[in-house]
């Protein structure tokens, strides 16, 4: 089972909402929603939790064991974790590579 980019984006959006600070108005959550830096709503601990939860849920769904925070992700000039859309794209890329390698 391979998830489409839209499915990955939707999944990350849903997980993202779980980690928003409580007691504040719900923002619109979409692909462009920033995960860190200016205007980001998650603190560093919540971002870690988000990445772990995305990784775990993807692995549950697809039966893989991808690691989001791999050397490639951590060494890229433009982090794949900068917003929901880029994270979803990175997930799809990792899944495609897994699929090709299988």
């Amino acid at each position: 089972m391979i998830l489409s980019l839209q499915e990955c984006t939707d999944l990350v959006c849903e997980i993202y909402k779980q980690f928003l600070p409580p007691g504040q108005p719900s923002p619109e959550v979409k692909g462009e929603t920033r995960l860190f830096g200016d205007n980001a709503l998650l603190d560093s601990a919540a971002l870690v939790s988000l990445l772990v939860e995305v990784e775990q849920q993807i692995n549950d769904a697809v039966g893989t064991d991808i690691v989001l925070a791999d050397d490639r992700a951590m060494s890229q000039k433009r982090s794949p974790f900068r917003n929901i859309g880029t994270l979803a794209e990175y997930v799809v890329m990792l899944l495609s590579e897994k699929c090709d390698a299988a």
Binding site: L11, E14, S49, V52, Q56, Q57, D60, A61, T64, D65
Partner: protein, 243 residues
């Protein structure tokens, strides 16, 4: 928005423990003791285990290899859906004068003792954080506080494990995961089988308790760390024998 939240694997009601290096010796004793306490235990080692027990599953894994650890954790996730306890028992020793330790031995000892402990901690915590609870127990050694000659590399690797334990305790505390370590006194296992008995006896003489340790001594500490009541105990190193 389309709901794409995937189904989580079926979760067993029985608490699940991982014990690395469970093929022989201390790891085997800890695995069997945890089963007696009601845990489902997944053990691993680089070689096949020559023992079986109801409630025990053995998986071939090299903890110093990231791919191998990911496979191990994938199996736990798919088969049990949870991980409650991780015991980082796997370790190798190098008992020799520092001037006689080959570079390949350095890589091997650090690979298993440090990299292996780190990888198992990292991947265990990912599984544990879903339940906002977990217990990780790492293995240090009295070689650290006693600064044992002939064990520079081994002691250094265990110092790293201690620092890892203390820092991870802080990083994982927010997930409800505790991280502690036990530093056993000399126990008659494969780890020290190449050390002359006289050397071990000299070492024991320097300790507060003039006797070798037993697997029961170690499990007593492990059991304390993993108890639900020990949720406030984290970042601690307990040495046996009064080192």
């Amino acid at each position: 928005m389309k709901n794409v939240t995937p189904p989580k694997p079926e979760v067993t009601q029985t608490p699940v423990a991982l014990v690395t290096g469970s093929r022989t010796g201390l790891g085997r004793f800890i695995a069997q003791s945890l089963i007696q306490r009601g845990y489902r235990v997944v053990g691993c080692s680089r070689g096949e285990a020559d023992w079986t027990l109801d409630g025990y599953e053995h998986i071939l894994a090299d903890v110093s290899n990231e791919r191998s650890v990911l496979d191990l954790m994938g199996r736990i996730r798919s088969a049990y859906g949870r991980l409650d306890v991780a015991i980082n028992n796997a370790g190798i020793a190098s008992m020799n004068h520092a001037l006689l330790v080959p570079g390949a031995t350095v890589d091997r000892v650090l690979g298993v003792n440090v990299t292996g402990t780190f990888l198992v901690c990292r991947e265990s915590a990912k599984l544990m954080q879903r339940r906002k609870a977990g217990r990780i127990v790492n293995f240090s050694s009295i070689a650290v506080p006693m600064r044992l000659e002939g064990e520079a590399l081994y002691a250094a690797s265990k110092s790293a494990v201690e620092t890892l334990t203390r820092v991870l305790a802080r990083e994982l505390g927010g997930f409800g995961i505790t991280v502690n370590a036990v530093g056993p006194s000399p126990i008659d296992t494969d780890l020290i089988r190449s050390v002359p008995a006289a050397k071990i006896d000299q070492l024991v003489e320097r300790m507060a308790l003039k006797r070798r340790g037993t697997p029961e001594d170690v499990f007593n500490v492990v059991e304390f760390f993993v108890r639900p009541e020990s949720s406030a105990i984290t970042g601690q190193i307990v040495y046996l024998g009064g080192a």
